[in-house]
Amino acid sequence: MQDQQTEQANLKADPKQAHVTTQWKYDSPLIACRFDPQARYVFASAQDNSVQRWDLAEGHRVAFRAHDSWVRTIAFSPDGEQVITGGCDGRLIWWPTAAENPEPVRTVDAHQGWIRTASTSPDATLLATGGNDQLVKVWNVADGTLAAEMSGHEKDVFSVLFHDDGKRLLSGDLAGQVHQWEIESGKRERTFDAKQLYTYNGGQRVDFGGVRTLAMSRDGRYLACGGLHKAPNPLGAVHEPLVLLYEWDSQKLVQSLVAEGLKGVICGAVFHAEEFLCAASGGSSGGFLLFWKADQPKDFHRLKLPNLVRDLDMHPDAVQLATTHYDRHLRISRMTAKQEG
């Protein structure tokens, strides 16, 4: 999420004006979404194992089919001409972004089990992935070779994020542990303990929660870890969204960002250059975009979306947001006033 280079838009984002401007419907419930770096398209994966590409200007849709399981991660090459999808089949597939009849150009068996998360370095030459094999791997985007592999998580890896310096990597797991790695040596430098995002329910005998998403503030001051808490009934979807905000340098937990009255889980988060955090929450309360400032635990604004949301990405213009939904829609929201006519 945070690894996209957001351009300074001419328009200033105002979350309080956020509204849905566009929605496209597909045949299956949608999972993950990403804008391409050149802002031509938005990609979304679906429960039919495909990835769909919509042209942002015209809404024309093209299917990418080669995975034999759900795709959970979408990333891009430095020039945006290749899109890299990661699936529950453990494979990374490279595709030509703009092809009308896309075929894989490279396939890598990346993980044993699901690829759950991916993040590209600031210069997009490296791709980090994390999965059910509890490993974090770093790949050369240019040729698909393995550049580094880090082990140390004791539960499935749910989230990865490159630091803006491109030399360090963060990875979060089901148990609420966020490890910081030095990529060149592969060594673990330190760990953020986000165990508030983890629950073991003894009655149901299940591990639940985890660090579902990671985001870093533009100024490098804060690390946000998103997930859930207050989960008395994990199997019944009774839980509340939570973002833990840590001071990067000291690792001190400075804020627990909550959304009062909502049931759900944070499924995506991004820091905006104008110093607010935008997150998507999906759950039994439905789908919401939530907006926080770092100095306040409660969201200063929320937008209820038409359906339960599953992923979030921010457009390079830093004004538009893409969300994927269970009701088979991809929706674009805009953080500006509605235009008349």
């Binding site: 039919d48 759900w70 149901q204 005998r205 299940v206 994990p234 199997l235 979807a237």
Partner: protein, 429 residues
């Protein structure tokens, strides 16, 4: 309840035999779980002939799509793929790689329609073979197995349940078969409650107390013996045997390497304990694995739960086969229902009694058989629809019990299994 026992009646002879057996046992000279009275050769034959039943209860509703009947690349299939098994042509979910290698000992029934989506009612009908009725209660499969399969002279209880938690104790699940066949629960696999003699009572004092108890009871029973006094006596003697044979229930006595093979977690220990109990002549053992009621994040939770289930169960099946116990042990992996093919908005699946599966094995079950089919995306049964009644008949027939027979309960004939159904004959060898 006062029962009019007559001298020379079958009940009297049976009770007397057990009574005498308990007196002998009271001398401390217990040989094995099969009782003191059997000769060594007869005991060995009995051990070989004795049929056993192992039930794995996947509490909450195991998803058939994430286990026995995967539908990859369909609108209902979810993210998991199917893998081949040791039986050519049979594929199961990729979450069960170890069990896939034991498929030659197992069979699948993929066409169950119980039309029941309630936990309680579903559990009842799957464990009794009958629908609940306000008119009365039916015994659980464990009680029926203990009644029909346990050796008369067996000194150990025939109906054991290993639960994930709880403190253990006695249940009331034998209905009209009587408390003798009710289950004893081993909470988290711990030995039965109160089976350790308090330190304040010496072994000599304990022996003396029980000798006195028996002498007083003998005298009472000469003139005023009833079914109730028999039940009391049986409970005391059974409790004494449990104490005397407490080590049978102690899984820590199994070799360390077996603990490693089964996995050092609760379900691993419980499966290893099940093996120990079956080897020591316990007729029926049920192990519960929990929880599969995955309305939310079905795939994450099945990853976790089946990740824990796969290896211990596969190891148990392999061990039963290796020890020559598979032909005499029926294995049943069941749940109260399956889960909806439809994936809900929480990536979950809901209750579904309409088209789901169980796994069977051992005894007279056809190895490597697959009975029935669901349609392409698992939304309905396509071939050979069966339900709980058919399954219960099949369990009984698989262990050599005539499921069309009946129990004699106070002069009334009560069918062993629901007479409206019959066994799945093509599943039986």
């Amino acid at each position: 309840m006062k029962c009019s026992y007559a001298c020379g009646s079958a009940e009297h002879l049976t009770a007397r035999r057990r009574f005498l057996g308990s007196l002998v046992a009271g001398t401390g000279a217990v040989v094995s779980g099969l009782g003191q009275l059997a000769s060594a050769a007869a005991a060995k034959q009995l051990a070989q002939d004795q049929k056993r039943v192992l039930v794995i209860n996947m509490a909450g509703g195991l998803s058939q799509l994430e286990s026995w009947d995967p539908k990859p690349a369909t609108d209902t299939g979810g993210p998991f793929r199917a893998i081949p098994t040791s039986v050519p042509g049979i594929h199961i979910c990729e979450l069960l790689p170890e069990i896939a290698q034991q498929m030659q000992h197992l069979a699948l029934v993929r066409s169950i329609n119980t039309k029941e989506n309630s936990h309680g009612k579903g559990r009842y009908l799957m464990l009794t073979g009958r629908r609940q009725t306000p008119a009365g209660d039916f015994p659980r499969i464990g009680a029926v197995a203990a009644k029909t399969l346990s050796a008369e002279s067996s000194s150990l209880p025939g109906h054991i349940q290993i639960t994930p938690g709880g403190s253990g104790g006695r249940s009331n699940d034998a209905a009209y078969l009587g408390p003798k066949y009710a289950s004893i629960s081993l909470g988290n696999g711990k030995p039965p409650q109160h089976t350790t003699r308090p330190d304040a009572i010496s072994e000599e004092a304990d022996l003396s107390r029980n000798t006195f108890r028996r002498r007083v009871n003998d005298r009472f029973a000469l003139r005023r013996r009833t079914a109730m006094t028999d039940a009391y006596t049986a409970n005391y003697e059974q409790a004494l045997e449990l104490m005397r044979q407490r080590q049978v229930f102690d899984v820590s006595k199994e070799p360390e390497q077996d603990h490693d093979r089964y996995g050092k977690h609760d379900f691993g220990r419980h499966c290893l304990l099940a093996r120990r109990l079956l080897e020591n002549g316990i007729t029926f053992v049920q192990v519960t694995h929990s929880n599969y009621d995955t309305h939310n994040e079905n795939f994450n939770f099945h990853l976790e739960q089946l990740g824990e289930f796969d290896k211990p169960f596969a190891t148990l099946v392999a061990d039963l086969a290796a020890r020559g116990m598979l032909d005499s042990t029926l294995i049943v992996v069941l749940s109260e229902f399956g889960r909806t093919p439809n994936i809900n908005k929480y990536y979950g699946r809901d209750h579904w009694g309409t088209a789901w599966s169980v796994c069977l094995g051992g005894a007279k079950i056809q190895r490597g058989a697959v009975i029935g089919k669901t349609n392409n995306n698992g939304t309905k049964v396509a071939e050979r629809e069966v339900d709980h009644g058919h399954l219960f008949h099949t369990y009984m027939q698989a262990v050599g019990v005539d499921s069309t027979g009946h129990f004699d309960i106070d002069g009334r004939e009560i069918p062993i299994a629901d007479p409206a159904y019959g066994p799945i004959s093509e599943l039986l060898a």
